[in-house]
């Protein structure tokens, strides 16, 4: 199992087991991780699954595609390490991934 750590805006962290092939957003929703809304259900059209990827992981993830970059324009407080968690697919290579959720979604 791949482990993913979610840290909320206040600094509280939750570690969950993620299923390979699912997305980071789905993992959060299934485990009731607060701070991710995912209004559009993962179709990259709401920007309410916004997370900040831990600096240590920034270079290890596949880059955001053009559609995700476009959608990120709508997220709140976008930073260089911002990603939409519905566009990150879980694999064994992501074991130990740490993401932080923003102050608010949208």
């Amino acid at each position: 199992m791949t482990k993913i750590t979610f840290i909320d805006h206040a600094g509280k962290s939750t570690v969950v087991d993620a299923e390979d092939g699912s997305t980071v957003m789905e993992t959060a929703i299934r485990n009731d991780v607060p701070g991710i809304e995912a209004e559009c259900g993962g179709s990259c059209s709401c920007a309410t699954c916004h997370v900040y990827v831990d600096e240590a992981w920034a270079g290890k993830l596949p880059k955001a595609g053009p559609l995700e970059e476009d959608m990120l324009d709508f997220a709140y407080d976008v930073r260089p390490n911002s990603r939409l968690s519905c566009q990150i697919t879980v694999s064994a290579a992501l074991d130990g991934l740490v993401v932080t959720t923003p102050e608010k979604q949208g």
């Binding site: 559009c40 976008v78 949208g106």
Partner: protein, 345 residues
Amino acid sequence: MTEHIKTDAVIIGAGPVGLFAVFELGLLDIKAHLIDILDRAGGQCAELYPEKPIYDIPGFPEVSGQGLVDNLMKQIEPFNPQFHFSEMVTSVENTGTAEAPSFIVKTDNDKVFECKVVLIAAGGGSFQPKKPPIAGIEAYEGKSVYYAVRKMEAFRGKKVMIVGGGDSALDWTLNLHPLAERITLVHRRDEFRAAPHSVNAMRELVAAGKMDLMIGQVMEVKGANGELSHAVVRGNDKTSMDVACTAMLPFFGLTMKLGPIAEWGLHLHENLVPVDTEKFETSTPGIFAVGDINTYPGKLKLILSGFHEVALAAQKAHRYVYPNKKLTFQYTTSSTSLQKKLGVG
């Protein structure tokens, strides 16, 4: 000047469910006016995913968000619905009784509707502009920071900072450019979602030194008494600079906010309006809630469910609008009277 309108039904929200309500009400001879804060019909389908395919509309193996809206508009045409766009419903006042309801519905555009039934088809709430994460920006809103352009003249001679990379940001950059003293466009990356021809036109202005383009984020606003003087822009290289600006237009898309519905005296449950599943009526007789805005045991936020809800709500609405008329159940395939209403008989 206040405009008074008398009608049978007012539908709040012109999303897919509000649109189909026109049809179901229309078959029962109930005339409707629709009000939406957006400047066109379609709600989430048109605003959030016009080009995405929907696969679970019965009878349509695949239809795009906008395609569904266009078809609904065509389907309700025979009933001549009256649309009031770019208007927010601010209040719904109950002026009747439980047996004979009547309501006064008001908008922020000085319109007053007198009607017998109200259908709240407000979806996830009214679409409102997203605000950027800039501390203290509220103090400038409406005075020198605007989320929409109502009058272009207001920007004449101003140093205008436009923030964003979509069509609104680029269109207003180009439209206000001849009026403004200077335009600075700020976007977080050097790529734009806007139509390529407007991006090219913007780049030409930048190349000719006629406007400025900055890649980065607005971190802070400075000024006094609501009047901006500077904005602090941080570039992606992390250096910050003060940029003179006397008006700002942030365009970060829209978000859905419940809005004034909370003040209409209805029972609410987690920002949703509870209804029964026989008539989809709220705690106030004569006010119905249909589509994404309502809640009941087993509710699914599907367009399909909203369509079913309006058909049933219309039956009860008929009792209020025509208390002395008996309602007989009819099919559109076989009823000549329904076909006459649809203009196909």
